[in-house]
Amino acid sequence: MRLAESPITVATPRGVAVKHAWQKHLLGFLMVFGPGLIVMEADNDAGAVSTYMQAGGQYGLHLLWLLIVLLPICYFVQEMVARLGIATGKGHAAMIYERFGKWWGHFSLIDLLAVNFLTLITEFAAISLALSALGVSPYISVPVSAIGLTLMVVTGSYLRWERIVIVLCLMDLAWFVLAFIVHPGWVGVARSTVHPGMPAGGITSSLIFLVIAIVGTTIAPWQLFFQQSCVAEKRLRFADLKWARLDTLIGSIFTVCVAGAMMLVGNYGYQHGIVFQDPAQFANAVLPSLGHFARNALLLLMVNAAVLGTTAISLASAWAYGEVKGWEHSLHKKLWEAPGFYATYIGCVGAAAAIVLIPHVPLQLVIISVQVFAGVILPSAIIFLQLLLNDRELLGERWVNRPWNNYINWTIIIVLFALSLLLAAQVMLPNLFQ
């Protein structure tokens, strides 16, 4: 293990004085808090809202248990990312380039940029859909959203961006209000959460597809790149690891609970025979029974999910590209100090927004491509993560995975490999399982 001085130095550290140990711990945690919550909650993006609500709409409460299974998986994967980010102070893309060479570096980067860009198109499509249902023309909603998303990052302050995004994450608490409004039957919810049950009709191709889609939407490739870059951007120190872990754990629990609330809302459709293709259609269908508040809240939460997803995914692309190109790639920099980094972010956001405004864009093809690309990149990104976390030459004994880490993580990787392969096979060869 070699130690390198970070290029950023601050001559005189400023601090906050507190009297009690508990204040020290609380403040220490709050200063580190952010990346873990953001990476998890931004994963509940527009595609996730649609997937979780469809799961509730088609299978009621039967798939709730899956979220409990996914909770530790989310945590273990992202904990590795946070640990690697703190140990190296560098992003995931840069580490793949440096340790695995240009071929794997280019492969990971190009795949990441492609899947992220296609995902961004779906996010803007969701913004357009939800705000159209509220009477706002896409020709207004989409450009305004793109401008707002750009203004969020060009302030030259990481902390300002982080605070705005944390507020957006906390807005997702409204999903719990909606879950209460739809009266799902809490005894049944508790039972389905801990007891896996078979939906009526048994195991079908559509059920398998939805299960894989839930796994795929809960653990997305961009999350690995995003959190590591975010941790490096925030310059978290070795001593911050315990708080970064707690942040990641809180983020995992929060995101799984919000995902559960989305399923409960979708379950309302299952209970009342409401068939829907997307959340906006569902929101309009429940207007007579649940009223304007529920409808508008659903549509606005869909927009919030898309905005959160867009800013995190675009940043993941911009950070990764900037790291590999050797550009300045920091939200601490002004627009003119890191032009390539900001141009990548703005380019991704602007191009995705523009594509959505083109009439008759084949969105279905975009969604399928996202699934295929995600199927390709997730296992490879996780393999590199696992290998890097076992790289004693780079990390030394202090930061590498412990044997129990490796048992858990290799199990997760094997399962994700199998599911990704199955998902890609089902998307590309739809007749294979019939």
Partner: protein
């Protein structure tokens, strides 16, 4: 270079934000070159290559299927 500092004379803790703290030395790959090709790394990368080849073949099959080439062959 720590998150918390104790100032004994004042009996207080000083908590420093990571962005305000002095930089600490990180694990660096400088001069290390590529990762050492241990048995585990080699097997993992081979599996990954195999997986990618399989995905490419499936994608190729799907494209040919969509283009109607496979139906003509049948």
């Amino acid at each position: 270079m720590s998150t918390m500092r104790i100032t004994p004379e004042m009996n207080r803790f000083v908590v420093i934000h990571p962005l305000d703290d002095v930089a600490e030395q990180k694990c660096s790959s400088e001069g290390l070159g590529h990762i050492r090709m241990t048995h585990g790394v080699r097997i993992s990368l081979r599996i990954l290559r195999g997986y990618l080849v399989l995905m490419t073949l499936m994608l190729g099959y799907h494209v040919l299927d969509l283009a109607g080439v496979l139906q003509k062959l049948r």
